[in-house]
Symmetry: C2
Subunit: 300 residues, 2 copies
Amino acid sequence: MHTIERDQFVFSFSGHHAPVLTVQSGDRVVLRTNDCFSGQIQGDEDLVTSIDYGRINPATGPVFVEGALPGDVLKAEIIRISLDNQGVITTLPGIGTLIHRSEVRSKLVQIREGRRVQFSDRIQFECTPMIGVIGVAPPGGEVACGHPGRHGGNLDSSCITEGSSVYLPVFVPGALFGLGDLHASMGDGEMCGTGVETAGEVEVRLTVLKGAELGAPVVETEDSWYAVSSDHDVLAAIRQASEDMQSMIIRRWELTPTDTYLLMGAVSDVQMSQCCKPCPVETVVRVRIPKLEGMPGLVE
Amino acid sequence: MHTIERDQFVFSFSGHHAPVLTVQSGDRVVLRTNDCFSGQIQGDEDLVTSIDYGRINPATGPVFVEGALPGDVLKAEIIRISLDNQGVITTLPGIGTLIHRSEVRSKLVQIREGRRVQFSDRIQFECTPMIGVIGVAPPGGEVACGHPGRHGGNLDSSCITEGSSVYLPVFVPGALFGLGDLHASMGDGEMCGTGVETAGEVEVRLTVLKGAELGAPVVETEDSWYAVSSDHDVLAAIRQASEDMQSMIIRRWELTPTDTYLLMGAVSDVQMSQCCKPCPVETVVRVRIPKLEGMPGLVE
């Protein structure tokens, strides 16, 4: 078992970052993470307008995985997510679905026993812990951790939670994996631009898969597969994720393109991960198909 | 208990249609429904390109509910949905997310004991019965049953299922309620333009609510509330449903607009009902908030 402390982080995914840890395929790693504001909001009076935006969305890492080469797939099994006992929700100036009817505010909330968020005296709700940022180095240059892409990054997908596996295409030797931006809870679509942002730690198992074909992130949960895609245009993101899902089903379940499309109409869900608009960050969507009895996995 | 046979239907919601049944508020009604193609597809060789498009999306009804007046709300509790033993899934020419990679096809499927869809020799899946078309007469003129709107209509929302309640604003005396377009299963977003289309019957209880404020359809399930909205632009539909949900929470839970927005960022899901594009029919989305302990209902 390896551990990376939360002072070992990057603000971008890049093949040029030096790894902070090297592991073998199949190793388990605990990554301690900062919240998406790098802890700069410690009270309701700390507005996002007064913090350093150069310190947003740190990802703990990167981790060099021995044997991972471009064209391979990195499987990250999310074994455990542990949350801090404090979270923050904020609205962001000019960003999000209802900002035209709301003020810019920060709201600190307590997370009780890692299970319940105390939103106010009257309102509390169950935690649904998830990982906002998870990815590997992209094929060229660097991508800020606040953005999503074919390499992963800020996927903000509620299906990336304890018990799920994230499959990522490898673009550089060692993959250079990292994660951060935990949410104690986040609504699908993240309409105000944040969920309950918190620090915490995540235990993952990192495994290199040879011979799996993958061009973009795929998530596996106990009962479903998800193709995740992003674009500034929401319909383009939906189409890309749908095409990715269709291609996987054609290949792995040996259906024709039209049979796949008919099946997807009947059982595939288009789901929003991040669609808080306006926003300079791309929309992220996912297309889900349930695991069907007797049918093989879509990646391995 | 009243029953309406499936030869009593309309192809539009309109205050000008003569009611086929008059009931008291609180009465239960069984509505027998045709499939969305009026039964014109009875084999894989019956393509949508060869059927009469004037006979699409019939809604059984309309029902005149005594005492329902403009400004009231009609609550339709979905007590039971029973499916036929045959369904059809089709792709539609020029329509839907993956039509550029698929052919125009019809596929008949068997629905076994109302519980499982036999898609092929190898593939079967559980039924998730839902109502595609449900609504009342709009404030003026008529709206074809294939379109959604503030009056309901083709909402294609998977949350409209057995056990849920649909709240609709009343625009004309008697409301003139109708429903049809059952799906044995449909993926959220209905990416190919159809789900497993089938005939069947639905038992509902229709109740007039006085003094409830409602401008658009709201759905209540065992654990959630949904605001449903439609627009040709997906982001406009998301914004409208989000505004509707925000307004209900402000009014019923007595939160400020900003506290509501923060809460929605943390727990409200943006979900797709119908986003098969390109398509001449509007996109339908819904914004969900879970029922929270100790907080009152959002409509009544």
